[in-house]
């Protein structure tokens, strides 16, 4: 029984440690082309998204919501989290570059 339990623990640890790529996408040139902006701009948007949104709640993956959902949510969250207009634009570009198709 004890060895089975320890095996289970090792499997769980392996699951956690070997699946260590970030769930939040890292922008590529294809994303930049799709969003009509630069990779650097998307990277800054990602950083702002993690900093401004991730400190309040679990970060949502951009692929989880459609463009219209993101565009409805962003103004409300911008006010709530006191995000500047310029930062909100960067964050919006980042999430829309990989949003769920409508």
């Amino acid at each position: 029984m004890r060895s089975k339990f320890h095996t289970g623990i090792v499997v769980s640890l392996a699951f956690l440690l070997f699946g260590c790529s970030p769930a939040l996408y890292l922008p590529t040139s294809a994303d930049a082309g799709h969003a009509g902006t630069s990779v650097d701009s998307l990277l800054i948007g990602r950083e702002m998204y993690v900093k401004s949104c991730g400190s309040c709640h679990s970060l949502r993956q951009p692929e989880r919501y459609s463009r219209s959902i993101w565009l409805q949510a962003m103004p409300k969250m911008q006010v709530k989290a006191k995000i500047s207009v310029s930062d909100a634009k960067l964050i919006t570009s980042f999430v829309l570059a990989r949003c769920k198709p409508e």
């Binding site: 339990f5 970030p22 769930a23 309040c56 949510a73 969250m77 989290a81």
Partner: protein, 256 residues
Amino acid sequence: MIVALGTNAQDRVFTYTYQSNVLNKGQKELEVWTTLGTVRQEYYRGFEHSLEFEIGLGGKLQTAFYLNYGYSQGITKSNGTDILTANSSYSFLNEWKLKLSDPVADGLGSAFYLEYKLAPEAADLEGKLILDKQTGRFIHALNLVGELGFEKKFTPEGNRILAETEKELNLELNYGFSFRINENWFAGVELMNENVLAEGELQKSLLKVGPGISYSGQGFWVNLTFMPQLTDLKTGSRSIVSDDGLQTRLIFSYAF
């Protein structure tokens, strides 16, 4: 959908297992914990309640204060005579959590956790390493926990009462796995292995596994987990004389 995206609280989906997320600076949560302990010998039933006030301090740090109250009733034996015994307990607890990495933005979410608990007859110090990961609809969380407890035992001797301090080390491992059903509901499993060491020896190694559900809405969440004890790994059978055969825990949280 928008409501769920924009205003969900801290997104905690487990009751026994902690996740790495912390509240933002100035954000506050009030949590009400209730744990029902049953399936022991001799008609035992016990409740543990906690009222927790949690606040984000910024810099990925949060603190919380708990007021704990517990009461139980069951039959105990003394010199062959059954006695109906009722117990109650009170304690104060303060926790600190520092988030080190994020479960979505980084490869692995992590946090350090430290708490101390003070009661009239006991004091505890507990540290946790929290690891978690979110991928798509799945959340995994793993906690490595060490707890050092000191308890005063009072025994009458003649016309005096003697006090003796007992020291106990508790090493615990918690693992939680949860699946997002939709924007509001999560369902999953929690596993706990609780090892108690006293006087240099392993006293027990309880293994508990049970299902849990979580619902989060506008500014609040509710988590419920059933945690049956499967076995004591030290003896190979369940320990239900001084430990619960089944614990049921409900946490309700309101963010403001």
